[in-house]
């Protein structure tokens, strides 16, 4: 069985929580005691209907204020797949939360209110989907019941969105008309939308092809930890523990250790304590090298073909995530996989308008939720790829040197 991680993007009024509630409810993933708790809470609301949105509001403040503060993760499974939903809230700090939820997603469900069509929000969600390079997009035109299930309304929205998708270069886009409230096209297809010939939303989620999402060519293995038992019988054992982020490694492969640039050959690969001939992403393994060279946490073991760039100056799109503004010239810790290095944000060249994609040159201030193009200088060379080509080796975070808070997410260019 495979695993699909997806994010739902939409504002509260688009019916996002209702959609998630509906998926869980119709796939029988809500337990009775949770449903009863929901009923108890819903009684305080006026219409008396069960409020499926309450399912994802886990914190007291969220329930009291009727808002969602933070990304919540929900789990469900069908006989075909296991699913992890990242539910990012609609209003406050939206960019920060959606970027966080999107960073691990294979697919984005973008909700559009059929009555309103493609709006500013839709563009913003789509831009983040494209910036974070989520491989698959499903555009769900919701509230079809409120437009009399009109095929014309739906078709016009599809035409409008296709332009957005084209402009952003979204790769795999599917469209589906739904009513989350009534359950039309969520798990089952219903007669209300009989003119729609495609699969239901759950069908799409169950069958979207994930095999090609992991790059098996550009091999990247960040060393997390060195296993050295130093016991009598394992005196010479020295294994490099880590998770293969991309690619396939075989015994005998010539490799390079970056950023140093030293060479060696793979002597052995262990997976779950057994020696294997080859291993591939995203397996966690232990790699042994032929030569006794200096390799430690933060180093990247790559195969000799398709090597990453190694520089001490990085161009990146940076999503700023802290209440305190970014101060160009300030020093931060840059973390890319297991490597942490001191760095300085040298230059902010432009700000990206997440509604229009326009570039605003030399912004005066970089505040929470802003996305800016920056040049970062690192204290020592870093091995990386372009985020749009290799997500797992082109993503980095910035950490405040004094508070140690994660203040920025970098998509390296």
């Amino acid at each position: 069985m495979d695993l699909l991680r997806f994010i739902t993007a939409g504002s509260v009024d688009d019916g996002k929580s209702t959609l998630i509630g509906r998926l869980l409810f119709d796939s029988k993933s809500i337990m009775i005691d949770h449903l009863e708790a929901l009923e108890r809470q819903s009684k305080n609301k006026e219409d008396g209907e069960i409020d499926l949105a309450l399912l994802t509001d886990g914190l007291r403040a969220e329930r009291e204020q009727g808002i969602t503060i933070d990304v919540a993760y929900k789990y469900f499974a069908t006989p075909k797949r296991k699913f992890i939903i990242a539910d990012a809230p609609g209003h406050i700090q939206y960019t920060r939360n959606m970027v966080t939820g999107a960073s691990n997603s294979d697919l984005a469900v973008i909700l559009i209110d059929a009555r309103h069509g493609v709006v500013e929000q839709t563009r913003r969600h789509s831009i983040i989907t494209s910036l974070l390079n989520i491989p698959h997009t499903v555009v769900a035109v919701n509230k079809m019941d409120l437009v009399n299930y009109s095929q014309d309304v739906y078709n016009n929205i599809v035409i409008d969105y296709a332009e957005v998708a084209k402009k952003l270069g979204l790769k795999d886009v599917r469209y589906i008309p739904i009513s989350a409230l009534n359950g039309d096209n969520i798990v089952e297809k219903t007669t209300s939308l009989s003119w729609y010939e495609g699969p239901s939303l759950l069908d799409i989620l169950e069958t979207v092809k994930l095999e090609d999402d992991i790059d098996l060519v550009k091999a990247r293995f960040p060393v997390q930890y060195v296993i050295r038992p130093q016991t009598e019988d394992l005196h010479d054992y020295r294994g490099y523990a880590g998770k293969i982020n991309s690619g396939i490694y075989k015994k005998g492969d010539p490799v390079t250790i970056l950023p140093a640039g030293t060479s060696s050959t793979i002597k052995a690969i262990e997976h779950n304590g057994k020696e294997v001939e080859e291993a591939f992403a995203p397996q966690s393994v232990v790699i042994h090298l032929e030569d006794d060279i200096d390799v430690s946490r933060g180093d990247l073991i790559v195969k000799n073909e398709h090597q990453p760039r190694v520089t001490n100056e990085i161009e990146a799109l940076l999503c700023w995530m802290d209440q305190k503004a970014l101060v160009p010239g300030n020093k931060y810790l840059l973390q890319i996989n297991s490597k942490q290095v001191r760095s300085v944000v040298k230059e902010v060249s432009y700000q990206l308008d997440v509604h229009s994609l326009e570039q605003i040159a030399s912004p005066e201030k970089v505040a929470l939720n802003d996305i800016v193009k920056v040049t970062i200088k690192t204290a020592s060379p870093v091995a990386y790829d372009a985020y749009q080509e290799l997500r797992t080796n082109g993503s980095a975070i910035l950490i405040d040197e004094t508070s140690y808070v994660t203040v920025g997410a970098c998509m390296i260019q």
Binding site: L59, K243, P282, Q283, I336, S338
Partner: protein
């Protein structure tokens, strides 16, 4: 699936191993919180995969409430001995004495909340900067919001509104003096994932997870094991039932479920068919209020 696509259990396993190795790589003095329950037993199994043939870079730490199931304690000691890793046990009983804490009263007086004091004292005693725990996001709705690397202040408190963003598979374990991090490698596993993994990996569990005869108190729809730690009233009905435990916590706040499941396959069948959640069916301590878990976490609970 293609030859180079991992099954979902393999994906979850690799993610958990990656998280544990990040702990080993980023922290000076980590610990693995071990209760003898199925989730922490799974953590130990994952740690074996992450660090063997080396030793664990952390001890197993059990905060013993004194109300534990004897079967779980025996299992704990045997497991630690079998794998040859260090086990640290600190007792809530001792904290109650040394700090003159007030024991909760009542029918099912639970030391669950007092555990937090012992945990924080233990963290201070050893200078632990990271504690690995077996909490899962599907268990409870406050847990669904917690990060995999969850920073706690010097009082062990969780501040849900000030959580660090956690992106990709990049974990920020930097902390200031006095703070510590709770790390949850199996955050993304569900109860069923755990059971399927236990079956696949053939992981041994304490016997109370399997159906057995037991004298229980039937109370408000729940079955509580008879023990010296609960108070019986004249009106209580004590019955002998065939039960198993779906979770293993304190004897006073963990309920049993009626079951004939004698093997893992039977258990998985029952859990697949059940309509009640794990904590909803078996945990008395979550029923106090809608935000019981959130409140405990804000006070330093793991």
């Amino acid at each position: 699936m293609s030859a180079y696509r991992l099954d979902y259990l393999d994906q979850l396993e690799s993610e958990a191993i990656h998280i544990m190795r990040e702990v080993a790589g980023q922290f000076e003095k980590p610990a693995l919180l071990f209760s003898g329950g199925k989730d922490s037993i799974t953590l130990v199994h994952l740690a074996l995969k992450a660090f063997r043939p080396g030793k664990f870079p952390f001890p197993l730490v059990h905060i013993d409430t004194g109300h534990n199931f004897p079967e779980a304690l025996q299992f704990r000691d045997e497991l630690a001995a079998t794998i040859g890793e260090k086990l640290v046990v600190r007792k809530v009983e001792d904290t109650i004495k040394s700090r003159q804490l007030t024991e909760p009263k009542g029918k099912f007086a639970s030391r669950n909340a007092l555990q937090t004091y012992t945990l924080l004292d233990t963290i201070e005693e050893f200078g632990f900067d990271a504690c690995i725990g077996g909490a899962r996001r599907d268990e409870e709705k406050a847990r669904a919001k917690e990060r995999i690397f969850s920073v706690r202040d010097e009082f062990g408190q969780w501040n849900p509104k000030l959580q660090r963003p956690e992106l990709w598979n990049t974990y920020n374990g930097r902390i200031s003096k006095g703070e510590n991090v709770r790390v949850f490698p199996i955050s993304n596993w569900t109860e069923l994932d755990i059971w399927n993994y236990i079956r696949r990996e053939n992981i041994a569990l304490p016997s109370i997870y399997f159906a057995h005869e037991r004298k229980v108190l039937a109370y408000e729809g729940q079955l509580i094991a008879l023990s010296e730690f609960i108070q019986l009233d004249d009106t209580d009905s004590v019955v002998t039932k065939k039960v198993r435990y779906r979770t293993v916590g304190d004897m006073t706040c963990t309920a049993a479920v009626e079951s004939n499941a004698s093997g893992i396959d039977d258990i998985i069948r029952e859990i697949t068919a059940t309509k009640t959640s794990e904590r909803g069916e078996t945990r008395i301590d979550d029923k106090v209020s809608e935000a019981a878990m959130e409140d405990r976490k804000k006070n330093g609970y793991f």
